[in-house]
Symmetry: C2
Subunit: 495 residues, 2 copies
């Protein structure tokens, strides 16, 4: 039987979630709508919302309620366990450490913005050294409170239910695969010849109409969503009111189009979360890797499939009058599935992207464990990339200065990208078995079979299960890099 | 000397204001951006923000701090006095009454939306009776706590520093003026003949560009403001980030144009509030009547002046290619300053608008004082309008069902419209004396002399002074209806 202590916690976590929803809307507004002059006041508003949410979470009565609370049933028990974990994380850190971290992250991020373009790592090194020192302190405190290794305790803040011990063999297997697969993919690509570029003009209103029509036709209900513009595209808002943004390039419709399909994957996950547990911990998405799996299953698995490219080519021709040769599926595949060894993670293709993540995972884990100093980071980075991809950054702007993450104090987040990509392939394989008509539907632009399966096996599960358990329930096994490698073999290594 | 209790109150009221700012942004979003499906979740978010703001305001420590607090200096003393008043208002009402009021208002407003078009007052009568009963209870409780008459205590919630005893002689004087002025204005208007309508097409993007250009040129900084669309135009947001909305009619550019100029008056007030008291009670606008005076001084006093209409005609000709005869200032005056006895307040002209407000003021005061029952409202309304304007509504949709205000529990608000209109005339007269070049500047579309004066005498004062004291400081006298009547005489009664 659930009891009054549990009911009181439900109500309190509901208020905390409502505050977080308000903050999510204000974050969206700040990126997509707010005039520049609103920044300082917005900072005050967001700090107040975050402060009040923290006060609600750490009030003494919460510990008392958690000690008294009983919940029965799978969902309520999971909800209570998540409440305990959230409370433990929030109370594990002394206020002085939280404040020092906030200050150090903010200071380092500001310096990073300035020095990034000048490729001057020495300028940010002292600030980053302070950030790492505080992250190590944070990891140590969370490690004690949660009973997990320090780096795992940080990773747990982004993706519950997967540890470095799960990740390491998976990444090692991928590294071995990459060493053979990448030269082979490049060879096949070279034989096929260069793609024909899309010609013509792609006015923003027509691009936007296409993005909206496609995201709607694959399942996003626009009475619960918006699509706007921002410098850095993202998917924000709340499950009942998802806010996607994109950035239009009039010379190249692919950027916005594929970007919006990616964000639509995130949006469909939010929309499919269990409404009966709205604003409760168990009703939230299962974590960052789980979220990335949903954006990538839509963008990479479904929308860049041969079947869907056929449909998409027809849309481009109808809306922009492109040449038949330009929008032929094999040409779109060459354009939008191009493999290339590069220095920059965000520009990377499906095969080389994990190399960028593996590099960062190993380096950040070593920094948190004290095995790598910030001073040695540039060299370790450059050597690591050379080992993984055979290229060496000419400067730190194309090396260890390229990402905001560490400079803003985000350690333990990077693995989510590749865990998501691998989970997407694993889920897609399971969905294809369960829904034999899935690819035939994709060729018609119809994502209903895939979406239906995802709603049952991923979206509707909320945070009931951690990452590995979610995969086990949906696919019969924990994370298995072979499904992702099989996907890449089929897409890039068939001559 | 200010003391630590005062400092603690400053900090607390700053957090309350930040919560209210967040809520203001979410209200704007709900009207201008939110997809329909976001409504229920938005309701949860807003209820949580309002609930937390109320808890912060009524926590026991606030009463202790208020008992201990000392503040020195004009602004700090006024700030502390406003904190006391806000706290008194918030703690005067038992939670059960607040909750019953919220429920009754919401239920009545829902019924009103349905029955309004059907002109069926009997359907809403029971719900409105309940609303009025609870407003009377609220007024009685506030009356005790604040030491003012019940109706005054309600009015104080919208506009501090003016009472029914101030309003009654002012409205009586206007009623006497109206009886002579209205037939005379109609007679003069009839002699002048009908205006030439604006012809041509007025595409929304061009209208929006004109609205933005004009509001910017009269002083609104768009790095601290936005202009968007909503069904019911308003000015929301925060002083650092003002959000105006309008509604475009492609057949008639005047609606959006004059509407945006009206909202710009509100926006300029918010922008001109004293930044050093941001998020403190004394840094807020002085009340609803003061706010309306600023929208009307821009829209009615400045922008519908002969001088500004000359400038505006040139803009319309340049942007839409209108005929010279159509945009001649005397034609625009006939179009946009047309006098007409009508049933609907929001469609009323400058001369008859106060009649609608006087009617509502008298009726709502009688209802709060128990001298008028809801059952007798339709008859009292129709007789009252006939006395004031000589016309009798054919049904209640054109009578006592037309406004949302009472059906949503807003009693004591209506006087603000006409107090604002009168204050606008009084302030304009004083500004003209202080700034002799004011009208010459308006003829060039330049509002700098007027705006500079308003910034010093109104905007920059925040809530330092109540309504009557603000007028005294700015114009040398409390509210005087003669300035408004003089304005109407000059504009409408000169043959």
């Amino acid at each position: 039987m659930t009891n009054t202590a549990y009911a009181s916690l439900q109500s309190r976590f509901g208020r905390i979630a409502a505050l977080n929803e308000a903050a999510a809307m204000l974050h969206w507004d700040a990126s997509a709508m707010m005039p520049a002059g609103g920044g300082a006041a917005r900072g005050e508003q967001l700090a107040t919302l975050a402060g009040l949410a923290h006060e609600l979470l750490t009030a003494p009565v919460v510990a008392e309620d958690l000690a008294q609370a009983h919940a029965e049933g799978e969902w309520e028990s999971a909800n209570l366990a998540l409440m305990r974990r959230t409370h433990t994380r929030a109370t594990a850190l002394p206020t002085s450490l939280v404040e020092a971290t906030t200050r150090a992250n903010s200071a380092c991020e500001k310096i990073w913005r300035d020095v990034k373009a000048r490729a001057d790592f020495a300028m940010v090194r002292p600030a980053l050294t302070e950030v790492v020192a505080l992250q190590r302190e944070t990891a140590a405190a969370l490690s004690v409170a949660l009973g997990m290794a320090p780096y795992d305790a940080l990773m747990d803040g982004y993706q519950r239910g997967v540890t470095a011990a799960d990740v390491e063999p998976v990444f090692a297997a991928y590294e071995a695969f990459l060493a053979e697969a990448l030269p082979r993919a490049e060879e096949i690509q070279a034989k096929r010849g260069a793609p024909v570029p899309l010609t013509g003009t792609f006015p923003v209103p027509a691009q936007k109409a296409l993005c909206q029509a496609l995201s709607a036709s694959i399942g996003l209900e626009y009475d619960h969503a918006r699509l706007d513009e921002s410098l850095h595209p993202f998917c924000g808002g709340t499950p009942a009111d998802v806010r996607m943004t994109t950035f239009y390039d009039e010379a190249d419709p692919a950027k916005a189009l594929l970007g919006v399909l990616h964000e639509t994957g995130h949006a469909l996950y939010e929309r499919g979360l269990p409404a009966s547990y709205a604003r409760q911990p168990v009703g939230e998405a299962a974590g960052m890797a789980a979220h990335e799996s949903q954006s990538l299953i839509v963008e990479m698995q479904a929308c860049r499939s041969d079947a869907f490219l056929r449909f998409l080519g027809g849309e481009l021709r109808a809306r922009f009058g492109c040449d038949a040769a330009e929008v032929a599926p094999e040409n779109l595949a060459r354009l939008w599935r191009r493999v290339s060894r590069g220095f920059i993670r965000v520009d990377a293709d499906e095969i080389t992207y994990p190399a960028h993540v593996i590099l960062r995972f190993r380096l950040e884990k070593a920094m948190i464990e004290g095995a790598l100093s910030v001073a040695d980071l540039p060299t370790a980075w450059n050597e690591g990339l050379e080992t993984l991809l055979g290229i060496r950054p000419p400067n730190d702007a194309k090396g260890c200065l390229q990402d905001i993450h560490w400079h803003d104090g985000a350690f333990g987040y990077f693995p989510s990208y590749t865990l998501g990509a691998m989970a997407a392939a694993q889920l897609m394989k399971a969905a294809r078995v369960a829904e034999p008509g899935l690819d035939a539907a994709l060729a018609e632009g119809d994502m209903a079979p895939l979406l239906g399966w995802l709603r049952t096996h991923v979206h509707g599960k909320g945070s009931l299960l951690g990452f590995q358990d979610l995969l086990c329930a949906a696919t019969g096994k924990p994370l298995d890099p072979n499904d992702f490698m099989d996907h890449l073999r089929a897409r890039y290594l068939v001559d």
